[in-house]
Structure formats: C-alpha cells, structure tokens
C-alpha cells in the first residue's frame, strides 16, 4: 500500500510558492521545507498504558534565504492570510540577524545554485496500519505483557510498545519541487527483573520502513528479553583490560555510527573538528573493512528521496578496503568545501538548523562464519545488545556501551556473562585490528542519534559480526 503526501502540505504548496515568489524579488536564494509528520505511540506496561501522538509529530516550515552575506533561516508554523504582511515579518526577523552580522565578524557564503528538479517518492507499507484499530493494537501489546509477566517471579515489569510515524515533506525553491511521504514503524520490548536488591533490564527492538508488520514482530521479542534480563542477574563486572572481542551486528552498527560515522560528517571539516580530514585516501582500518552511509545505502528508517535541504539522497562509500574515501555532507558544508553534497542535511525538526547527519550507516558483510570467529579467540568477549555511545570526531576516542559481554575461552563461549561493558579506545586501533568479518548482516533502526548532546534525528546502523581487539571496562 502506497503512503500519501499529507493533504495539508499538498494544499499549502501554492501558498508556499507565492511566498517564495515574493521573497525571490529581494533575495538571490529562497527555499522552503514544509513538514507534516504524524504518528502514534502505543505502550503497555505491567502498571499502566499510554496511547499518544508520537514525539516526532510536527507540522511547520523553515524558510532559508541568502541574506547577501550568508544564510538566514526562519522557522514558523502559522501562515497568516496576509502574505505581504508575513513577508514583512520574515524580513524583520532577517534584519535583526543582519544588523548583528554587519557589526560583527562573519563568514560569507556563495549563493546556492540549484539544479532544476521535480521529483517525488511515496513509500510502501506492507501491512496497512488501519487493519487493526487502536483497541486491537493496545490489546496486542497487553496480551504480550500479560502472557509473559507470570513467566518468572523475578519480573517486575514488561514494557511493550509500538510506534508508527508517517513523514510528509515538500521542498520548494525557484528550481526545485520535491515531495515525499513514507512510514516507519518500530516495536520495542523491555523486561525489568529484580533479585534481592539487584535490578537489571534487557531490551530488544524491531524497526524499519513499513506498518503493522512491526507490531507482529514485538510478540516474538518478549521471551528473549525476559531470558536476557534474568541472565543479567548472574552477570559479573568485567575486569578492565584489552581483550579480543567480537561485536555482534548491533554493536558493529554502534561502532560504525559513533566511532567513525560522526567523524566523517563534513560540517565538522568546515570547523576543523574532524581528524578524518587528515586521513582522506589513507588507511584508517584493516583491508577487511568497507563502510557506507546514505539514504540509498540501505532500506530502513532513514531512507528518503531528499534531505531537509532538498538534496537527493545517495549511497556514500566511506571506507573501501580500509581506505577512507569520502565524508557525508549537508549542502552548506559542501558549498564551503567545494564538494558535492551527499544528501545528508537533516534537521531534528522544522524548528532546527540542518547539519550533516548520518542516515543508514553500515559495515558491509565479509565471508567469515561466526563460529570460526569464536574459535579464533583464546580469551575474550562477544559483545551484544548495544546501549549507546558518544562520538569524538576530533580525537577519535571511542565510547560504546553494550549490555552483554559473553566470555570466550579457548574458542568456546563459557556461558559466563559480564555487564555492562564499556568499549573505549582509539578508533583507528579498533578498526585496524578487525581481522574477521562475518557473512551476516543486520540493520537496526529503533534508535535516534544526537549531535553532541542535542539535535535528535532518526538513523539506522548495522553490519556483520566483527572480530577485533578493544579495551573493555
């Protein structure tokens, strides 16, 4: 089933075009991004429930103009009937910034030269979200919680949730007329267990472009997360040190994203904040490593036709056989660096600035088998259940946290678990030590990515099992 463009955006396009025509009289570049994102979040826990609009919901616009020096943006979610008065309001806002610019040191930007393009993308949903009513969706989640709560007396809560979001966007300028609408959905299941005063949790999630099929997948997550949480009650703290490690696909995805992906966001190049600038066309990883990012690099929650600056999405090869080839960029960074924009200009919402951001960030699969990778380790850990991480593009430090480390001794999993596990170190060391890459591939899109400590956007990451060395704590 095809996803339709928001009727509100379709109806508003003419007004937006009129606004652009008015502003075009005074400014050499004018564009408008219109967004109408709608979705619902359903959650059932042992002690309650909720059914609310998704936190990603938004309806509004951001207008970008070249203000004769550099770029000014104005975000708004009301369009007054009196367009002429509204144009005056926008100019007034612009002039506040311009006054400050003219008095202070500033950077200049050239005027963007858009190529003429009219295009549209309307995603597909395998199972229509309307096939189940709100009641039936909530009942499905309630059944997951109720049927599993009695499976262990250690369980204090199961949280089952399902979220679906339909993104509608238009991008308009003198030369561009772009439309897109797609739906992503995700389901999560969290189990919380307690034994005396020791409390642990485990989670799993499923996400991607599509609809109700992801609610179905939540059902299968519950037994596994309960087992995982109970297992964690027996977990010990790891003895800090350097180990041979295998990253499960979700941890590989986290490494791709945090350890390297942020470091090739090219707005960081403009600010001289990325160490990777010095390594373009040089080795940064072992020959086994191939890494990509892009709206077209994979099909998941961040697969779109155009980004939030009206640049068409691409598939960027970042690392080829260990050599750093390309970064990912927003349009203004590309303009400054004289490179081709890669369609990675993303905004948290219409209210925020666009930055160079990741989309679907992946390590490509290899040819090794997981069992051979385990056999190749004398003493180490298999890391699973990625929790989160933090980037360090300037210094290539790593912080990636996994919930589970499964001990490997003499080529076998011993059954002993350590938790939580913090993987730290220096990015090139970690990537250069990758000596085996499995034939598997999994993609994860249930998370969100921040830049620094803000600007949250939907991203996906993943890859195969990777065998390397890392410092664990």
């Amino acid at each position: 089933m095809k996803v339709n463009l928001s009727s509100y955006l379709a109806q508003t396009k003419d007004v937006l075009k009129a606004l652009i025509t008015e502003l075009d009289k005074d400014f050499s570049y004018v564009s408008v991004l219109g967004v109408d994102t709608k979705g619902k979040t359903h959650q059932v826990t042992h002690t309650g429930a909720s059914l609310n609009d998704s936190s990603w919901n938004e309806r509004g616009f951001v207008i970008r103009v070249h203000n004769t020096i550099n770029y000014f943006e104005y975000s708004f979610n009301m369009i007054p009937d009196d367009l002429a008065a509204f144009v005056s309001t926008i100019k007034e806002e612009l002039n506040k910034g311009l006054r400050l610019l003219s008095e202070r040191k500033h950077n200049s930007y050239e005027v963007l030269q858009d190529t003429s393009v009219t295009d549209s993308f309307f995603g597909e949903v395998k199972v229509d979200l309307n096939e189940l009513s709100s009641e039936e969706k909530m009942n499905t989640l309630e059944a997951i919680v109720k049927s599993n709560m009695s499976s262990s007396d250690k369980l204090i809560d199961i949280r089952a949730s399902f979220e679906h979001v339909t993104v509608s966007k238009v991008f308009l300028s003198k030369d561009k007329d772009l439309e897109q609408a797609y739906t992503w959905s995700q389901g999560t299941c969290v189990a919380i267990v307690r034994d005396d005063n020791d409390t642990k949790f485990y989670y799993d999630a499923t996400a991607g472009l599509g609809g109700l099929e992801y609610l179905d997948k939540v059902k299968s997550l519950a037994p596994e997360v309960i087992e995982g949480a109970i297992l964690l009650l027996e977990a010990e703290l790891i003895k800090p040190g350097m180990y041979d490690i295998i990253c499960a696909p979700d941890v590989s995805g986290l490494v791709a994203h945090e350890a390297f992906g942020h470091g090739v966001e090219m707005d960081m190049f403009v600010k001289n904040r990325a160490k990777s600038m010095e390594y373009l066309n040089k080795p940064v990883a072992s020959k086994h490593v191939n890494m990509h990012d892009g709206a077209k690099a994979a099909t998941c929650v961040s697969s779109y036709l155009f980004d939030d600056e009206g640049t068409l999405g691409t598939d960027t090869r970042i690392i080829k056989s260990g050599i750093l080839e390309n970064g990912i960029s927003d349009v203004l960074s590309a303009l400054k660096l004289n490179t081709t924009p890669t369609g990675n200009g993303k905004r948290e919402s219409f209210e925020r600035k666009a930055y160079a951001r990741m989309t679907n960030t992946i390590f490509k699969s290899g040819t090794d088998k997981l069992e051979d990778m385990i056999k190749a380790i004398k003493s180490g850990y298999l890391l699973e259940a990625a929790l989160g991480g933090m980037e360090d593009p300037k210094n290539w430090g790593i912080q990636c946290e996994a919930l589970i480390g499964r001990e490997i001794i003499d080529g076998k999993l011993t059954g002993k678990i350590v938790s939580p596990v913090l993987l730290t170190g220096y990015v090139p060391d970690l990537l250069s030590n990758i000596d085996m890459v499995s034939e598997d591939f999994k993609l994860f899109g249930s998370g969100a990515c921040g830049k620094g400590h803000k600007e949250w956007v939907k991203t996906a990451d993943g890859g195969p099992y990777l065998k390397t060395k890392g410092r664990l704590g």
Binding site: A49, K96, L100, N395, T424
Partner: protein, 415 residues
C-alpha cells in the same frame, strides 16, 4: 486558538481535559571560530491536549499535538479520535489536579537584547566553534478542573567547542552552558575554563590502570550521580516498582557524608525555574532526602494519587547539601580526579555509572599530572557508604551541590 480548542473540548464527550500551550520564539547564532556563520530565528506555537475517559475502574487518557494551522474540523476529529483511544488505555483511576488559591506572576523580559552581549563574549575567546540559542516561551496551562495558569520562561543555551594544541596534537573540549540571564563575568569565566580544559587535555598523559585508588568526581558527573537518588524518590518510579524507597528508609548508611537533597521550583540563574509543573500544579520547595533518610516523594500528580500522597509536582532544580571535607582534604592521599567524560552515564535502574575519561588529574602522592583516555565504571552500592561530599559548592544551571565527590578504593581502566 486556545478558545477554539476549549470550545471543542467542552462539546466533546470527555471526563476531563488538559491543555499545555507554549508560544516559543528564538534567536540563534552559529559561530565558526569567532565569525558568525549563520543566523536563525523562530516563532512557533505548540499545543498539547490530553483527553480523559473513565471506564470500569480505569481512567484512560490520550495526548495529541494540535497545530495552529488545523481547522476546527481537524481539531474536532483529532479530539474525537483521542477520546476513542483513551478508552483502551487501562490506567488505574486517578483525579486531575485542582487549581491552587495562589497565583504566581512571572516577568516577561526582552531576552533578545542579549544576543550582542553573548556574541561579544564568544567573539572575545579563541573557540573552535559555538552555537547560541536565546529562547523564550509563554506557557499557558488549563484543565477541566479549573486550572488556568500562565508563566513566562527564558533560557539561553550555548554549545562551546575549544581546541588545544600540545603533545597529544590538537585536542578539543566540549561544553554545554545553560543559563537564564546574561552574566558577563560568569559566561567569560566558563569559556576561559573550556579553553583551559582543551589545553590540559592536549598535554595530558595516558590514564594509567589503577586499583584501590580514590576517585574524585567533579563537573557534570556530580549532577548525574545525584540524579540517581532524585529519580528513585519519584512517585512514578515507586508506583512502577522501579524504586523500592519508602519514607524513612536510610539510603546511605554511611561512614562518609549522608546525602541531603532538596527540589526547588525556582533557582537563581536556572533555565528550569517554573512556578507550575506540566500539570499546572503549583510547586513548592521539597526536601526529598535528609541526612540519608527518605523524607518525601515528588512527581506527576497522577502517581501521587496512586500512592495517596499530596501532589508535589515535577521540579528540575536540585540542591544537594555540602559535605564536611574540603577538596584540599580530599586530595591529601593519592587520587584521580575525573573532570570530563565523553558522556558520564548513571543508570537510574541498576546504579551502574561511568564513562570514557576525556580529562582527569592523577596525583601519585608527589606530583599531579593531567590524564586522558581510559574508562572509569563503578556501581552505586559499592561507593555510597563511604561517599564524601566536598564542603565547596558549585552551581551548574539547575543543580547546586558539592563541587566534588570522593569515591574510595576504585578501579581505573587505563593503558
């Protein structure tokens, strides 16, 4: 728009409603080094509406976001759909908060005039890059029980990045600065500190692996450390059995300093100062833990009802009492002071905490050396009984408390 919404809500078949409206405006400046690279501004109106339906022994609710561009028909349709959805949300019955007799007035000031002031201080410093957001909000909260309160809120957010050069090459420091007013000296001092931090990191040695070492936590980690206790005294965590705290529980039987935590609706200079919480509950200062003993709970009125507690509301200004030791006394024995992590995490569920070390100082008994890299992780249960809090107090936006904490006999994963 609120009148339109209220009329539609009054005409719908509901057992209660709640409106949270925010009119937001901002002026934003983005700097590369000391040059303004982009300017932005916004004017946005956001309205969240929650509708309630009683059924069986439950009170269901559903929250929707209404847009100012919605027609009456669209709003009515969204409200009807939410009312229908609320009948499948099986939450135990509770009552909605009622209005207070007291009204608090807040002052509306022209924060946008601060843009040149903040810009002046930013451009004076040799930063790599920075971002400045000057935001203000007019908030209006109404509910079907008669709550009808308004307040004004200002906040400034600065992200400052500094690069320092030294034996480790070019190294950067990252700092988020939040404040509710312009204080030239304070802002200038903070930026100077960010720059010094990057210089120290650039010349720092690799963190050594150490066992049985005293760890002194300073900076953002201190606030995050105490957030564990704050989250554990929330009525929501207690109702959900995430926290087992009871009034009168001794939470840190201690050879060190007992913990005392007070929540405040307002705090000088804090961006989290509000007279009412999201439900419209009038907030008042509440001591949640005193001398290591749980004194009272805080949190959303719904969960207070479940626990048969008077609604205290949600407050984000946290004050922790000072301890008995000076930082100088803490530093008499060998220690590692950790002042900057890539992202210090405290798991409110398990009590595990730590992160990758970006900057610290190691005192081996003779000399003090700046250190970087490596990781520190630990668990609250292993440290809280000999926890020492510094006598010195520091404010970081909505947190005022000990400048440093001493955790005894810890392990450091270094190189």
């Amino acid at each position: 728009m609120l009148k339109r919404i209220q009329t539609i809500l009054d005409g719908a078949s509901l057992d209660g409603w709640h409106i949270h409206s925010s009119e937001l405006s901002s002026q934003e400046l983005f700097f590369v080094q000391d040059a303004i690279d982009m300017t932005r501004s916004k004017n946005v109106h956001k309205v969240n509406v929650t509708v309630y339906k009683n059924f069986n022994t439950f009170k269901g609710s559903s929250t929707i976001k209404l847009e100012p561009t919605m027609t009456d028909e669209e709003i009515k349709s969204a409200v009807d759909e939410a009312a229908y959805a609320a009948t499948f949300v099986k939450n135990d019955y509770y009552t909605l908060p009622k209005p207070s007799d007291k009204t608090i007035k807040t002052t509306n000031i022209d924060t946008m005039k601060w843009a040149p002031d903040f810009t002046g201080v930013i451009q004076k410093h040799d930063l790599n890059s920075s971002e400045l957001f000057i935001n203000n909000a007019n908030v209006h909260i109404l509910n079907s029980e008669g709550i009808d309160v308004t307040y004004h809120k200002d906040d400034v957010y600065v992200e400052a990045i500094s690069s320092g050069k030294g034996i480790n090459g070019e190294v950067e420091s990252y700092k988020e600065i939040k404040c509710a007013s312009f204080d030239n000296d304070s802002f200038d001092h903070t930026l100077t500190h960010v720059i010094q931090s990057s210089i120290d990191k650039a010349d720092a040695s690799k963190t050594p692996s150490l066992e049985n070492i005293n760890v002194i936590l300073s900076g953002v980690a201190v606030e995050r450390f105490f957030n564990y206790y704050v989250s554990r005294t929330s009525v929501k965590a207690i109702y959900q059995n995430i926290s087992t705290y009871k009034i009168g529980d001794k939470i840190n039987e201690t050879k060190g300093d007992p913990v005392t935590i007070t929540l405040h609706p307002t705090m000088e200079g804090s961006t989290e100062s509000v007279p009412y919480d999201e439900d419209g509950v009038l907030l008042k200062t509440t001591k949640v833990i005193e001398d290591g003993v749980v004194k009272s709970f805080w949190g959303p009125s719904r969960f207070s009802y479940y626990l048969n507690e008077s609604p205290v509301g949600i407050m984000r200004n946290i004050a922790v009492d000072a301890g008995k030791s000076t930082i100088e006394e803490m530093k008499k024995e060998p220690y590692i002071e950790l002042v900057e992590f890539s992202d210090f995490a405290m798991d409110a569920l398990t009590g595990h905490f730590g992160g990758e070390v970006r900057l610290g100082y190691y005192y081996d008994g003779q000399t003090t050396t700046p250190i970087t890299t490596g990781a520190f992780t630990s668990q609250l249960s292993a440290v809280e009984n000999d926890l020492l809090l510094s006598k010195e107090i520091t404010q970081q936006n909505c947190f005022v408390g000990p400048t440093s904490l001493l955790l005894k006999n810890q392990k450091i994963s270094g190189e």
